[in-house]
């Protein structure tokens, strides 16, 4: 897949997973790799970028499984960004679907 497109899609997926509540890194990667086959490692740079853009914030929670878990929390800015991206994605998806159908007729 086109990397730019994939990048945008992954960003949207990650942000969307945080709409319903905070999640820690492993939880997020597990959730996403259930649905699509990606290298989980690639999500960490994305998460880092989202944090730098102030779409998410992070906090640590002690964990029994080892090092403290880093939780990601969607900020107000992130929420707005997620919504606009979702909208864009849906329009794009509809357009793509329509075009694919036209071509196959």
């Amino acid at each position: 897949m086109n990397t730019q497109l994939k990048k945008g899609a992954l960003e949207l997926c990650v942000l969307s997973q945080l709409v319903g509540g905070d999640k820690y890194g492993y939880e997020l990667t597990e959730r996403i790799s259930e649905e699509m086959s990606i290298a989980s490692g690639t999500l960490y740079p994305i998460l880092r970028r989202l944090k730098e853009e102030a779409y998410v914030t992070t906090y640590l929670v002690e964990s029994e499984s080892g090092p403290a878990r880093k939780y990601y929390h969607l900020t107000q800015k992130g929420r707005e960004y997620q919504q606009s991206m979702q909208q864009e994605w849906e329009q794009f998806q509809t357009a793509v679907s329509r075009l694919i159908k036209v071509q196959s007729v």
């Binding site: 990048k7 890194g25 990667t29 960490y44 970028r49 964990s63 029994e64 080892g66 090092p67």
Partner: protein, 419 residues
Amino acid sequence: MTKSEYMQALREKLHCYNGALQQEILEDYEQHFAEGMAAGRTEEEIIAELGNIEDMLQEFSEEDLKQEIEAVEAQANQNGSYDTLYREVVIEGLVADVEISASGDDQLRVNYVNEGNEAQKLRYYFYQYEEDGVFYAGVKERKGGSDGIKGIKGIWGLFSNGSWSSDNIELSVEIPARIPAVKLRTTSGDLTVQRLRNQSVEAQCASGDLRLEKLRCEQLHGMTQSGDLEAEELRVGSKLKLNSTSGDLDVTDVSAPAMSLQSTSGDLRAEQVQTNNLQLQTASGDLEVDEAVSDLIHMQTASGEIECRDVRGGTLQVVTGSGDAELEADVEICIGKTGSGSISLEGCAKLQKVQLYSASGDVHLDLEMVEGATIVTHTASGDMVIRGYEASGRSYNCSYGSGACQVEITTASGDIEVE
């Protein structure tokens, strides 16, 4: 692959990025491993899930790299001055050309310039620290540098000129004489050492050339692998040792009580030498000594040629396999041995004893300046001409004058001529 191998690979590939980024990603991965293990997965499964490190690196933005490049740019030119009395200075120049000189005052000065492109600046960086009274400075290559940079090239073609010339990296260091020991090293960079007055100096190059000039020290050890070594105006108090693997050694105007020049395949040349003990050894290179004064001179090569001119001293020992030995030496004792090469000795006045042996080479000895000698020659199948007399037979004995100088010449098939 195990977790620790994977993490090590990750650590190396992240080297091109800034420290905060590196640390964060490493922590994320550690956490990921911990969670995965707690969920009952094996290290291999978790590694497969995390996936290819290069793919992950592609996710980093140009910004991440730009920030790092700016930091590296700022670091590309550095200089410092230090007045601590260190017991040793260790400089590792790696690919940089290194110039070492004596400090005019008590300050140790370091100046590093990297004028390469961004890729080169990312790849090589300057370091400096002190530990246990030793001052360390030099150039390091980021681990996994080339791999890491391949990753960068994937992201932006900015560095795509593709060649990794390490030109324009220069390190110059001024070292005060009161620091007792100096150790200098480069790999492909050239190393020039000038005017040092330190007690002990060790200088080493791999493929770079080594130049030692106007040094006064107690001990001096110079080494190169394929690089050439050139030395001029050395005054060494005790031991001078210079060696190379395939590089040539060229030494001019040197004095030291003991001097050793060694190489595997390089040529060795020494001119204007004053010493008590001069040793030149090479496997396949040629040996040349010019204007030397020494109590003992030992020259040895397997297949190279040996040449002495204006050599004065006590004992001259010369050994070569297939090369010729051409000796113009005024010594008291001369012992020469060749396999298929020929030997010629002339210019001796104070000769007391000479033993020359060649298997298939010819032997020529000039005794014109020697007042008296006892001559014994043997050959299995060669011809003998002794002081104008064509000797028949396999052995010949004669003496003239005082008969004081003991001459013994032996060949298997070579001819013998004594003048």
